[in-house]
Every structure is written in structure tokens, then in C-alpha cells.
């Protein structure tokens, strides 16, 4: 367990000297902020004051989608770069279990995204001041929990895919394609199939988020779903390192 933390800490520190991470962080918060301002603005344009009170969804909704676009860029480097630079040889011949390596990489990226999400709390705090009698805090908690779980799942899958490739770009696009499938495509059969479509709806990352957490519902099956995806990603990563040894 200690090794997971050691590896996570190195990854986390590395994000703060990496221009890519700063760019991603800046764009992420900038776009969320922009959408926030536009929403607040358009709602307050109504001459009778707010036509309807804005809720947390104007922050967490775009954040979830932005995570889909940015997490592949955050995870693409994690393992692929170690393989390319050859430093994998050091880690694999050091006293580190394959799982610890993958989990550490994931944790480092997760902490980085949590830092971004912490900065984004500025928007709900602002909104709380603009709206009387304040925003629905339980709704906010549920929505943020959803975003955090979603980030965990995205990052888990991203790390897993990064471990398959020695090329960052290949890792990036494969991750993005997988996310697009899980976000938009996998739910489609639910609308076509006459029966048995429930399973596809369950596997749909976006409906798990928008229909449950983002609407203020903490669903246990949603928690299980996102945690399972995270575990699956870490498992894929561990397996592909093991496979790499045998090649």
C-alpha cells in the first residue's frame, strides 16, 4: 500500500511541473466558468428576476462532459510513457507489485482531478450567494459525488488503456473512443430493443450520471457501476503489465 502512495505522490507532483496539466486544468475551469456565467446571465436577464432558480446542474453537467474529453489526455502518459522511456524496467525490477504500480498511477491522476474539482467549488459558492435562499446542498453533494465517481471511472479505464500502449497518442485516442462508446452508444439498444434493454441503460455512463447523481439522487447501483468500471480499468492495466513481462 505504501508503494501506491509513493507512486501516486510522484505522479501528482509531476502534474504541477507539466505544461499539459496546466493547460488541461485551465481549460477545464475556464470552460466550466464560461458556461456558468452564460447560464447565470441568461437566467437573470429576465426582467422579473430569475425565471427559475439555477441549480448545481449548470456546473456539474458541463464538468461531467469535460471530464470525458480531458481525462484521456490526463491518463495517456501515465503508463505508456514509462514504457517508452524504458523506466518501466526500473519499476518492474524494483520491489513493486504490478497492481501497486497501476493503482499508484491512477491515484496520482485522481488526486489531480480532485484538485481541479476543488477549484470548481468556487461556482457553487458563488451561486449560493446569488440565489435566495441558497442552493439545494444535498443536490449539490449528490451531483459532486457523481462527478467524482465518474472521474474515478474515466481515470481507471484510461490508466488501463495506457498500460496497453507504448505510444501516448494511441492511448489517447483508444481511451476517447472507449469513452464515446460508453457515454453515447452503449445506451442506444435500450431504446430499440422491445425488452431486455435495461442492461444497456445500466451500462450507459451518461444516463447513470444525468438521471441519477446530477438530478440529486445517490443511487447505490450507480456507485457500484462506477466503482466496477474503475476496478475493471485497474485490472486491465495490471494484466497488461503482466502480459508485457511474458512477451
Amino acid at each position: 500500500m505504501r508503494n501506491i502512495w509513493t507512486i501516486a505522490k510522484r505522479e501528482f507532483d509531476l502534474y504541477f511541473i507539466s505544461p499539459v496539466a496546466y493547460t488541461i486544468g485551465f481549460l477545464f475551469l475556464f470552460i466550466v466558468g464560461l458556461i456558468f456565467i452564460i447560464n447565470i446571465g441568461s437566467l437573470s436577464l429576465n426582467q422579473f428576476g430569475f425565471s427559475s432558480a439555477p441549480d448545481i446542474r449548470i456546473v456539474t453537467g458541463p464538468m461531467a462532459f469535460l471530464l470525458l474529453l480531458t481525462t484521456p489526455a490526463i491518463t495517456m502518459r501515465l503508463v505508456a510513457d514509462e514504457i517508452r522511456m524504458g523506466t518501466m524496467e526500473l519499476l518492474l525490477t524494483g520491489p513493486v507489485r504490478d497492481f501497486e504500480l497501476i493503482a499508484g498511477k491512477w491515484l496520482g491522476a485522481f488526486l489531480f482531478v480532485l484538485t481541479l474539482l476543488a477549484f470548481s467549488l468556487v461556482f457553487p459558492i458563488l451561486m449560493n450567494r446569488l440565489v435566495t435562499p441558497g442552493i439545494d446542498q444535498l443536490h449539490m453533494l449528490a451531483a459532486y459525488l457523481g462527478v467524482i465517481l465518474l472521474a474515478a471511472a474515466f481515470l481507471g479505464l484510461g490508466v488501463g488503456i495506457s498500460a496497453i500502449f507504448s505510444n501516448q497518442i494511441a492511448a489517447f485516442f483508444s481511451t476517447l473512443v472507449l469513452f464515446i462508446v460508453l457515454w453515447w452508444l452503449i445506451g442506444a439498444p435500450a431504446n430499440i430493443l422491445p425488452s431486455g434493454g435495461e442492461i444497456f441503460r445500466y451500462l450507459d455512463m451518461s444516463s447513470q450520471f444525468y438521471d441519477n447523481f446530477n438530478s440529486g439522487i445517490i443511487s447505490l447501483s450507480g456507485v457500484v457501476y462506477y466503482l466496477s468500471l474503475t476496478a475493471l480499468g485497474l485490472f486491465i492495466g495490471t494484466i497488461s503489465i503482466e502480459v508485457r513481462r511474458w512477451r
Partner: protein, 310 residues
């Protein structure tokens, strides 16, 4: 300390190493010599737990490298041939990271001590990306020495260093080798000669020779060799020398000189000298040749050399 038996590794149809058997005892520096592609790095990869063997076993400090890989990796310090380093970290930061992975109790003190040993203390805060090749090599060596491993495995440790650094690194290895087991690969033969207690020469995945550096020179030469130069036709002389007892192999070098090998116990040189005179030639020179490790190495790996070069 290191015990290797019947170790084989194949990449598809190609056999990289073929039934290797050797051992290394505590406090011994073993040199691993061979041309490129002979299987040195593959063997080291297996010993360090980087990749599994196809068959056979290897144990380090009593632990099987496959079954107890983690225990082995705790006890081994390894410097890979490519010296992979995180170029975006400082020397200190990198070594601290490796020390933390090894759970060293006083990580910072250990890092400083090791930096002192490899002479990098004043560059501790510099970024690895800005270091020269030789400096990086020393960072890699520091990483391998950090936890005072029982077994040190070094893949071409002095490659790319300047002469002064080579001497420094050799001194470090010699120092470490007093207490720990060191297995180092090299194709610089003089290095093996100076540094190692024992030498393994490996070619095409097989050990062709295993012996102490001293023994190797005397026994492997196939006895002794001498060269003679005469006034006259050496080819004619060769005929008559064949009858001298103790002379084993005769090789013509030029029109007037030849080389012969002989058993060192029954030194036939006086008889050879008489034979030269008896055949009515003037003897201009006779001198013994001592084979260097270089000659032995070339001799042993010669037939396969053109193939290896491709």
C-alpha cells in the same frame, strides 16, 4: 548467492539463452562477457525478475526469481543497460523516490550517502535531464546501490564514461564487491580482467567458458605458444618440427616464420631449437606468446562472429 541452473529463454523460435548453468558466491565479482546478442541482457532480465525464463530455474539469496520475485527484487540492485531515468526529476528527488519504493527507513540519509559514494553530491538538486551521459550513468549506479543490495547486477556499467569516470565507477564496484555479489556484463575485456574474480564467456546463449580470470589465461590458451623466425623456408621446417615431441600445432605465419603451440609441462623449446639447426636453418628469433583475454575471447566466439554482426 546467485544460482542458475538449466536456464533457457526463447523469443518465438529464437533461443536467446540455452541451458545456462552458473553460480556466483558472496563477495565475488563475476564478469559476464560475450558479443552483442549473446544473451547477457536476457539473462540479467530474468535474474532481476523483469521477464520470466522459458525453462530452468534461478535463485538469488535462496529465493526463486519466478516464484518469489518480490523477495528477489528487494535484494537486488540493478543497473539496466539503457539507464532509464526520469529526466523531469532532480537527482535527489529521483533517488528519494526509489528509496521510498524500497521502504528505506532513513531515505534521505541513504540518498546522501549514496550520492557521496558515486560523487554526485554537488549535483543533487540538478535535473537529471541536464546531466551528461556519464553523470546519468552514475545516477543509475546510485539507484542500484541505494539499498545496499546483497546482489548487484550491472549491465555494461562503464559504457559511455570518460576514462576518469571509468576508474571511479570501477572503484565503486570493487568496493561493493568486497561484501556483496556483483554480476556485471561488459565487452571491454580489460575491464573484466581488472575487476572480476571470475569470468563467464557466453556466446549464442551458451556459456563457452567459466573460470577465474587468472586461470583462464593459462589454461585456455591450450598450453603455451611460441613463434620462431628463421632464415629459410618455414614450410620446410614445419615438416621436421612435426616429429618433435610436445609440439602440438604448427601454423605458418610468413615465408620465414611460424607459430607452434605446446604443452607447458613438457617444454619442447630446446628440442625445437636443435631441430631448426639440424635442418640447416639459421634461427633468428624464438619467443613465447601469451594470450590476452582478448585473444581467448575472439578465439572462442570467432566462428559465430560474422552472424552476430548482422
Amino acid at each position: 548467492m546467485i544460482q542458475v541452473s538449466d536456464l533457457s529463454k526463447s523469443y518465438g523460435a529464437r533461443l536467446a539463452i540455452d541451458q545456462l548453468n552458473f553460480e556466483a558466491r558472496p563477495g565475488e565479482i563475476v564478469g559476464f562477457l560475450g558479443p552483442n546478442g549473446a544473451g547477457k541482457t536476457t539473462t540479467m532480465h530474468i535474474l532481476t525478475g523483469y521477464m520470466p525464463a522459458s525453462s530452468g530455474t534461478a535463485t538469488i539469496a535462496g529465493f526463486d526469481v519466478m516464484k518469489d520475485s518480490l523477495e528477489v527484487r528487494k535484494r537486488v540492485g540493478y543497473l539496466p543497460e539503457t539507464v532509464p531515468l526520469y529526466t523531469d526529476m532532480t537527482v535527489f528527488g529521483y533517488l528519494k523516490f526509489m528509496a521510498d519504493l524500497r521502504h528505506l527507513p532513513k531515505a534521505e540519509a541513504a540518498v546522501e550517502e549514496t550520492l557521496e559514494k558515486v560523487g554526485l553530491l554537488e549535483r543533487a538538486e540538478g535535473y537529471i535531464g541536464n546531466l551528461s551521459k556519464g553523470m546519468r550513468q552514475r545516477v543509475g549506479l546510485a539507484q542500484a546501490l541505494l539499498h545496499k543490495p546483497e546482489v548487484l547486477i550491472l549491465d555494461e556499467p562503464t559504457i559511455g564514461l570518460d576514462p576518469a569516470q571509468i576508474i571511479e565507477v570501477r572503484n565503486v564496484i570493487r568496493e561493493v564487491g568486497k561484501e556483496h555479489t556483483v554480476l556485471l556484463s561488459t565487452h571491454i575485456l580489460s575491464e573484466a580482467q581488472q575487476l572480476c574474480d571470475r569470468v563467464l564467456i557466453i556466446n549464442k546463449g551458451k556459456i563457452v567458458v567459466e573460470d577465474t580470470t587468472g586461470n583462464l589465461q593459462s589454461t585456455l590458451a591450450g598450453g603455451q605458444q611460441a613463434q620462431i623466425t628463421i632464415r629459410g623456408e618455414a614450410a620446410q621446417l614445419a615438416e621436421s618440427l612435426k616429429n618433435v615431441s610436445g609440439v602440438r600445432e604448427i601454423k605458418l605465419l610468413a615465408a620465414d616464420s611460424l607459430q607452434f603451440s605446446y604443452e607447458s609441462q613438457q617444454d619442447p623449446r630446446p628440442q625445437v631449437a636443435r631441430a631448426v639447426l639440424a635442418a640447416n636453418f639459421d634461427l633468428l628469433e624464438m619467443r613465447t606468446l601469451s594470450l590476452s583475454l582478448e585473444d581467448i575471447f575472439l578465439e572462442l566466439t570467432r566462428e559465430d562472429a560474422p552472424k552476430e554482426a548482422e
